[in-house]
Symmetry: C2
Subunit: 735 residues, 2 copies
């Protein structure tokens, strides 16, 4: 059976892309196992050229040759490399360390590896180089750089980058689940074993922050954060880093995460996250992630409550608290002065268009920062110093905590406190800009008359419903014991009933007009019931959707499905469900590829905040802005983007050719400019000419707001059509 | 081949003890795997009667029957139990929790399970009951109680209790070693894989306490602590707990550990351990054990430096700091008043014979404490509260730290600070007793004229030599992946060159006299070089050996080998070396049993402190006391123990019938009275009629002291005859 499929990659002159696709997939599997172990459920092996073996592999080659001499494995015979690449730049990150993009040293190493992988001449060369590097380097470093390269090389478009939770499941899932899984497989008999991934395991109800665990520790939320950093690497080649409005998106994506987090906090009767402004004060929140780093078989270190930051003096990170204070002071001084200076003394005015982008790169400390020496590494070093708080001088030889790693950082309550501090600096800049003028907000002749939300499961309009959902995940790739497992694991996450927005818009002109419909959800009251002013509301506004509409003269009735949101990606995207994926890949590999490569985006099931059992009221705000001021002329686009007549009928999506849904608001577009010319968060990113939201919409015909209510239904519903109860039984015995 | 060995235990009417021995061994294997998995390298299975299956096992029985229907496994078919035992007493300790003997609740549960196992009628019943309990209960709880029962039941004498590090290796070994081992096995080819267990991995040199890691984290040292608590359980049946001078031995064993620890500290230029007297002060020492608790796949939580104790309020432990302070006050008040009262108000004078025994049980909080309500649970609750310092109210759902578990407690520097505090309370009592009188110390007509130490590797007398040794260990039993592994692992520990004491003793009387020769090693200077007074020295004196000598009229030349020490057990005892064990068990099961059941005792390789590279001077003190005042009349012993004529010739050991070497000084004797009538630590447990050690030995002919020097040789020597270098190579590639 296998022999029918067998082929030697190198011997096939007429290679099909799918052969490579398979080989590239194999490189994601079992990232902690040696490269020469069997892959793809024991069906495939890589055949390494001599130069790939290291001195310490002595004897392995012969052993493998013997073992697989007459086997029917699919072999990927790799090309000899023209010359042995020099990987010594990565020597300072050992295979046993954890890898952090926030760490200056690690970031530089990653940048060099990405450059190396990007520069590989052709696919054969690239594949061979990947295997060579994977065999030698830190697994997490390799997988990050490998994913970045796959996503950015022109010749690997369409290659599927699997969800990171499938590659490194231990970074997402409570470790006892793996023991359960192993045992369920061992005693499955004829049954289909099923394991429930624990949730709510990091703290008890005594810890009030635990109320937000469903958000902080959600698998999809943390995968989004990782994937965002794959799409927006902070080092590597200029071409990769220097994406359109990268710094502004860094600001906006994190600002939106905070808005969402704070809305969730209000729903859970907690005040919004406090900024970590005083770096000398004890950090009240403790956090014990309990995740096991499989690379070195240790739990990510916890942080006791009320620890104080200390100067960090570790082999790979050195920073004084005073450094961070100075950097913040200089950045704030620049904001108050209205300009920054690069390392040559050139002055850049922080204007309302590019100011936030410049600041975003400076504060994050991406390779686009115009003056790292002066403005420092505020955001990254904040992550590092908090991540080392339990062992600042590395005397205990403890790895950094979860906040040091972008795959796990969002689990820790302190992530939101640190980013509130970072965000407040950006907001300080935004507050200095003049309020939006009437001209910047209005859309003449357009009157948004009515808005209504209809939820599939509810009769009453303008009501949302949330609940828990149990979804299946496929973790086989990253688990060394699940070869050909047929293991079904599922996890519980927030979900909402699908809904539809309906709008009635009058176009009082005589021409077709195009507009951008912008939908936001704004908290009305804080956790204590106090009404929020517009100036507070705008900073807490959650972008739900943004799309272009074509408005014909007279009354237009428009509809938009919740699933079409420009912020989120579907759960099938977040997590490839085994059954679907397999079905797809066999039936239509093309579709499969398209479905999977756009992994960046907020998980759709988290589109709405949880609400409350008795209902939580929000303002639903909708604005239709003038497309003439929003449209972006993409390079190479032939038609005039501002010409509304050219825009296809009805609601449309510029990018449906690449991904049939996408999260452009959070992730931009692949190889294109950010598809909205306005500053991100518009119109809520700047002060507004009103005191209340009602006051605002009364002034502008192209805006409207309604009261909506989110009611949380405290029950778990299954996303799987048939629940295998026999399987459930097996999992319980696997203690 | 297997079928020849196959037998069904129950079907064989004429059972041999060795059959049971096999079955009992199987119960130690893979303690975290379900009981119905294959054991003994896949050769054996247990056949459970119907009543053993739980509801959640649904389907497993049929699956197993199918799987093994025609297999050639050795089957242990278990008896149906007369009635299903009620194990509900253990409900509050879930299978996923860690088990602590210091925890009141856990201790009670263990006590009940031990009682149940002790009361099983016969071996069939006992075996079946063990399997039944093992299938249902917390693995650590079961293994502890099962070991206690095996050691104490009359019908299981001679059953081997394996070294605990083989059962729960994860509690002793840095977890990345297991990954290495698995990979080494996977790619061993024809080679014999060999893995070096890491040491010195918990902290860097920046942490001064790391200098003592070789002591605190030694595998044998921690196994001793566990085994001591198997021999001296703090709950269970009265018969098991109420051992001769249990409370006094609790005091003495820990006092000796402290003396040894402090001597090691001086050798490493550190001051002796400070008592943790002030429970309100921050604890300076942090500790990150890095061990992985395999039961729930989490690292034992670490403790940041400078944390403060807080009131503990966890589901299974509640204690206020003020409680502990009150208990200490009441115990100290009792010491100052000279008596304690039991719960009925009866008064017990704290005299020089039994006082320390009463206090030991009170302070430890064993079930022998005469008034737990009043004197409390000082020692146990100290362990618990320090172990919960990172999560005192369990809000983070973190398990207790290593100091909460007697298998791991000695790893943490704070263990020694806590026990110094406990020990100081006992010493306070001892200091109130009058100094030893001349009559209590002298031995008329006996003159210890000369002592000399000869070390095998050195020419110069009175010099000891220490170095690092690499010894092999067998960890197969507790690892789920090593079935039939042939895996060789080795670890590095302190060792010394073997040596011999030589004495010349004059008996100036006309009769044969018997004496007890007591050998101590006393530090001369503290870490700063300050000379210690006798009053300080006596509290730091390390017992090296104690044995009975027969002294004929005139000059007696006596010799004693270091290996014969009454404090230590051989490394083969501490850790059954695979090769030896297998060879023995096949050749001579009787000998095997004798060699292995006496697992309690200080590891012999730690007999001497490390010394210094340039040599560290100590006083070697030897005293021969009058056997007439030392001898203990064992129950059932026919001869008069005080009659020296009856004592066999030369150096002898009362107990050589049971263990050919034993650690009676630390562990007492199985089923016998403690073999020395003097209070433990004599003559250094009380004040002495001199200011200096020289002053003391000058007064008494039966004492002598010499200067000795311990020189540390900083090199690793192998204890394995042939080092498999090929194997070494394999381990390095298993990253």
């Amino acid at each position: 059976m296998h022999s029918l499929l067998s082929f030697v990659l190198n011997a096939t002159k007429n290679k099909k892309m799918t052969d490579y696709a398979k080989a590239f997939q194999m490189l994601f599997q079992s990232p902690l196992e040696p490269i020469y172990t069997c892959r793809d459920n024991g069906k495939c092996i890589f055949e390494l050229p001599d130069s790939h073996y290291m001195e310490c592999d002595g004897g392995v080659k012969e052993m493998l040759q013997e073992r697989y001499a007459n086997s029917e494995h699919i072999r990927f015979a790799l090309q000899e490399l023209p010359s042995k690449p020099d990987l010594s730049f990565a020597d300072k990150l050992s295979v046993k360390q954890n890898f952090s993009l926030f760490n200056t040293l690690h970031k530089e190493i990653a940048g060099k590896l990405i450059r190396l992988l990007m520069e590989a001449e052709d696919l054969d060369n690239f594949l061979s180089l990947c295997v060579y590097s994977r065999h030698r380097l830190n697994a997490m470093l390799f997988q990050y750089c490998y994913s970045v390269a796959l996503l950015h090389r022109r010749d690997t478009r369409g290659i599927w980058v699997p969800p990171v939770a499938e590659i490194f499941p231990a970074n997402f899932i409570e470790p006892s689940a793996f023991t359960k899984m192993r045992k369920a497989l061992q005693f499955k008999g004829n049954k289909k074993p099923h394991v429930q991934i624990p949730h709510n395991y990091t703290a008890s109800d005594r810890e009030i922050e635990q109320r937000l665990a469903y958000f902080r520790e959600d698998i999809g939320v943390n995968m989004h954060h990782w994937h965002w950093h794959l799409v927006y690497p902070n080092s590597g080649t200029r071409e990769i880093i220097n994406k359109d409005r990268r710094g502004e998106l860094f600001y906006y994506m994190h600002q939106q995460i905070l808005a969402r987090y704070n809305a969730e906090r209000f729903c859970n009767k907690l005040a919004k996250a406090l900024p970590l402004s005083n770096l000398r004060e004890p950090i009240e929140e403790g956090y014990y992630p309990k995740l096991l780093d499989h690379a070195h078989q240790r739990t990510y270190p916890g942080r006791s409550g009320n620890l104080c930051l200390q100067d960090v003096n570790r082999e790979d990170t050195t920073v004084e608290i005073a450094d961070m204070e100075r950097w913040a002071d200089r950045i704030l001084a620049a904001i108050d002065q209205g300009f920054v200076r690069d390392s040559h003394g050139n002055k850049y005015i922080l204007d309302e268009v590019t100011g936030i982008d410049i600041l975003g790169n400076i504060i994050e400390e991406s390779d686009l920062s115009i003056n790292v020496q002066y403005y420092g590494k505020l955001h990254n070093m904040g992550h590092n110093s908090i991540a080392s708080i339990h062992d600042p001088d590395h005397r205990h030889m403890e790895e950094f905590g979860v906040i040091g790693h972008n795959m796990t950082a969002m689990r820790d309550p302190v992530f939101y406190r640190w980013h509130t501090y970072i965000n407040n600096i950006m907001l300080k800049f935004k507050k200095l800009l003049p309020p939006y003028s009437e001209q910047q907000l209005s859309f003449s002749d357009i009157n948004l008359r009515e808005i209504e939300v209809r939820t599939s499961s509810l009769k009453e309009p303008n009501h949302f419903e949330t609940f828990w959902q149990n979804s299946e995940v496929d973790l086989a790739a990253g688990l060394d014991f699940t070869a050909d497992s047929g293991l079904h694991a599922s996890y519980t996450h927030l979900q909402h009933a699908s809904f539809e927005y309906c709008f009635v818009v009058e176009n009082n002109s005589e021409h077709v007009k195009c507009g951008t419909c912008r939908i936001f959800l704004c908290p009305i009251k804080d956790e204590s019931g106090k009404l929020l002013k517009l100036e507070e509301q705008r900073l807490l506004a959650i972008e739900l959707d943004k799309f272009t509409v074509k408005l014909y003269p007279g009354e237009n009735q428009l509809k938009r499905l919740s699933e079409e949101s420009s912020v989120t990606i579907a759960v099938e995207r977040t997590f490839g469900r085994t059954t679907n994926k397999d079905a797809l890949s066999e039936a239509n590999p093309e579709l499969n590829t398209r479905l999977h490569f756009c992994g960046c985006g907020w998980p759709h099931y988290m589109l709405l905040p949880k609400g409350k059992i008795r209902g939580q009221r929000f303002d639903l705000f909708v604005m239709i802005s003038d497309y003439a001021d929003d449209a972006v002329q993409q390079p190479g686009q032939t038609r005039d983007c501002h010409n509304c007549e050219d825009v296809p009928n009805e609601v449309f999506d510029e990018n449906s050719t690449l991904c049939n849904d996408n999260a452009a608001s959070f992730c931009g577009l692949r190889d294109k400019l950010y598809p909205d010319k306005r500053t991100m968060g518009y119109p809520f990113d700047r002060r507004l000419p009103a005191d209340t939201l009602n006051g605002l919409v009364e002034q502008f015909g192209n805006m409207q707001r309604i009261d909506v209510t989110i009611t949380f239904n405290d029950e778990v519903r299954s996303a799987v059509d048939e629940v295998d109860l026999n399987g459930e039984d097996i999992s319980s015995l696997a203690r």
